[in-house]
Symmetry: C2
Subunit: 223 residues, 2 copies
């Protein structure tokens, strides 16, 4: 869906994606937004309930200009997304890349890349789109896994809510590089720099009930 | 502040911390909540603006029964927390521990530990509490760092907003262990189990302007 002649290379900024400060860290480039979203699979989904905010972690996948999130049909927020107008949501994806240690506590910071999506969550009712989205969510976390597992049956599909949020009002924000310093602080004796941090996968742990000798699939050995 | 005779060992559940499903994964134990909060330093803070939810990543620290978050005094949400009644917020901290691969896509899941705090953000105006909170936020990410850096001066303090959220309406949620399976799926040939994931720190990168020979502090070598 991207790269078509009609798709602009950037998302149009809006008042709520413009930010009140640190605007130099904001970006609207579509490819950058996609790359940040595609690197992750866990988002924080916020909605309003009884006038108060709620934010919950959940899995997602990006397919073209849509984010998909799934859950139980018994889940309150996903039920509310079933209304025609959709449910106002904000979806944020954050990758932490490092801790930035400056000479002063004030200039301590983190290196990160994040995307914030403002929009409405809509129930996905089309059967094919639901199947595609569920595969995409599994593959978002473990690429190649969806086709190497049993797909949802009718009963499971009936118990699963799939919602989508269109990527229209979107911004990326990031920080990279070493600490900012006040010039007069440079002589201070404290160490300064960046402590990198990244998620690392461990050795896969077979399930207790896995038949002995079941080979580890390539998509897990490569991580 | 914890462990005093008047502090119950659990947070009292409320309608919005009870959850609509998967209640077996919910917990209100104070020590568990504290341990999840203390393991992290990056939260997702949600608030409502013009009727719509907003969720942003930010640093935090727990001190006793309070969470502290800081930011620029120019930041809109932190300014709004300056109102007497505070600003309704939800703060969520999530640790991802593993990807759970079941035989069926339906039973795919993640292992995680999360805490959700519902409450109101209040500006911290007391000078000593502000200083303590700023140190705590630095030490939350890098224990021992606050005292090994230049503390904020008057100008920097004036530019920094510190807000607190009291830990009153709080729940923890977690999943651990291997996949759940439908009995009839156990014969399927797919690998099943858990792919562990955790944040890992890399080799510290000195700042370009750091004086050669500045020793790496113990609190960084130990990570």
């Amino acid at each position: 869906m991207t790269g078509s002649p009609s798709t602009p290379t950037t998302y149009a900024p809006t008042p709520r994606t413009t930010g009140s400060r640190a605007r130099e860290r904001m970006a609207y480039d579509r490819e950058l937004v996609h790359s940040i979203l595609d690197e992750g699979f866990l988002c924080h989904l916020a909605f309003v309930r009884d006038g108060a905010p709620v934010v919950l972690p959940t899995l997602y996948a990006r397919v073209g200009e849509r984010l998909y999130v799934h859950g139980s049909t018994g889940s309150r927020p996903l039920r509310e997304a079933g209304q025609d107008s959709g449910m106002p949501v904000c979806v944020t994806v954050t990758h932490l890349d490092g801790l930035v240690l400056a000479k002063s506590t004030f200039h301590h910071s983190v290196n990160y890349r994040s995307v914030v999506v403002h929009g409405r969550a809509h129930q996905v009712t089309d059967h094919e789109e639901r199947l595609m989205a569920l595969d995409a969510i599994v593959d978002s976390a473990v690429p190649g896994r969806a086709e190497d597992s049993r797909r949802a049956n009718a009963k499971e599909l009936a118990a699963t809510a799939v919602v989508r949020v269109d990527l229209e009002e979107v911004s990326a924000k990031s920080r990279a590089g070493g600490p900012s310093e006040e010039p007069e602080d440079l002589e201070l004796p404290y160490w300064s720099g960046v402590l990198p941090v990244s998620p690392v996968y461990g050795t896969p742990i077979p399930a207790d009930d896995l038949a002995p000798g079941t080979p580890l699939p390539d998509y897990l050995t490569a991580r």
